[in-house]
Amino acid sequence: MSSIVRSFVAVAITAAALYGLQHTTPGYGEITSPIAVAGKLGKRVAANAFTIGVANVHLARTVTTKRVGRTQTFTSSGVWVLVEGAAEARSESLTLMSAQWLGPNGVRYALSQRLSSVPGILPSERLEPGLPRPVLMAFEIPEGQVSGGTLLIARTAWSSLEEEVRIEMTDVRPDDIKPALVLARSEGAVPWTLRSE
């Protein structure tokens, strides 16, 4: 083989290798993306820093909150999703500031700010090691995003390389949407009660 052909082959191989590297190198966002910890509805999921389990998922058109001397009804152009569960810190006190509903089309919905002051809502609960606490999450999402959704829970929404628990919301269907849910404060171990109307 002449030296010209050899040089040409070497350049072609190098170009192909560089092209491959360029197109397969992960971006900064992918390198520092959250570390996923998969879980299932109804099962306790253990990440390194915390454990969480989702027990019930309620769907409703409206949510009425009842507090001392004050009743408020929250309507929505979408669907209210109220998630009940329990969470616990594993080695040190922490607060889980981020919960998101990942719809089947990839859109993420953050916790609703309209129900941010109800008792037991996840970002307001300080979790302690050895002390499981009941937690509540409330989302407002379009009806089309209910089926095939995934619940994402992490310490913060923005930190790099943080653990993110991903719980597939299997068997959660729009057929189960109730007209109204009433969320009231409770003095028991679970600081709220939920009933449909």
Binding site: S93, R126, A189
Partner: protein, 181 residues
């Protein structure tokens, strides 16, 4: 017709020496460039505990520290146990003490760490009202030499927590920190 010059023995030696030197020079260059970051990371992760027995005082961050009581209150209805830690410090060097905020953590023999509660539980307010009125360990901007500062922190732990110890860290005195056993 051009004829390629045959490299001399000296040129060959220089070539291989340069190639071998790369194996040393490249890691050295990376190390030199990241030395500051490595030093910072190492100092951030260095912890030197100063163990203090119950009732004893310990000089730390420009003051004499003492744990006056670590009280375990009766178990609450949800299986939680409130813990009240009361401690004090006699200021020796106000400037050194004022260098950084104070971080207080309760630990157990399994290495679990509890931060102080935001608001003392009702049981704490009833059992130790004088502790509720004491300030938390925070910053000491107005510390005066010779003054005694009394502080308290409350925690919520499970019944399974044993071997509790109070750890106090002043940012200005790191990597050292106090552990009251």
């Amino acid at each position: 017709m051009m004829v390629a010059a045959v490299p001399t023995r000296g040129e060959r030696l220089r070539y291989w020496f340069s190639l071998a030197a790369l194996a040393i020079v490249l890691p050295a260059a990376i190390l030199v460039n990241s030395w500051d970051n490595l030093s910072e990371w190492r100092s951030r992760n260095r912890h030197i505990p100063l163990a203090v027995e119950r009732g004893a005082t310990q000089r730390y961050a420009g003051a004499q520290w003492q744990l006056t009581s670590l009280t375990r209150l009766p178990e609450g209805p949800t299986g939680t146990i409130p813990i009240v830690a009361e401690f004090e410090t006699v200021v020796d060097d106000p400037e050194l003490l004022g260098k950084g905020p104070c971080v207080v953590v309760l630990t157990d023999d399994r290495g679990r760490r509890w931060q102080p509660t935001f608001l003392p539980a009702r049981a704490v307010r009833q059992a130790r009202p004088e502790a509720v009125d004491k300030p938390r360990c925070g910053a000491f901007p107005n510390a005066e030499k010779g003054r005694t500062i009394k502080m308290a922190a409350t925690f919520t732990v499970p019944g399974s927590a044993t071997g509790l110890a109070l750890s106090v860290t002043m940012a200005g005195a790191r990597p050292e920190y106090l552990v009251f056993r």
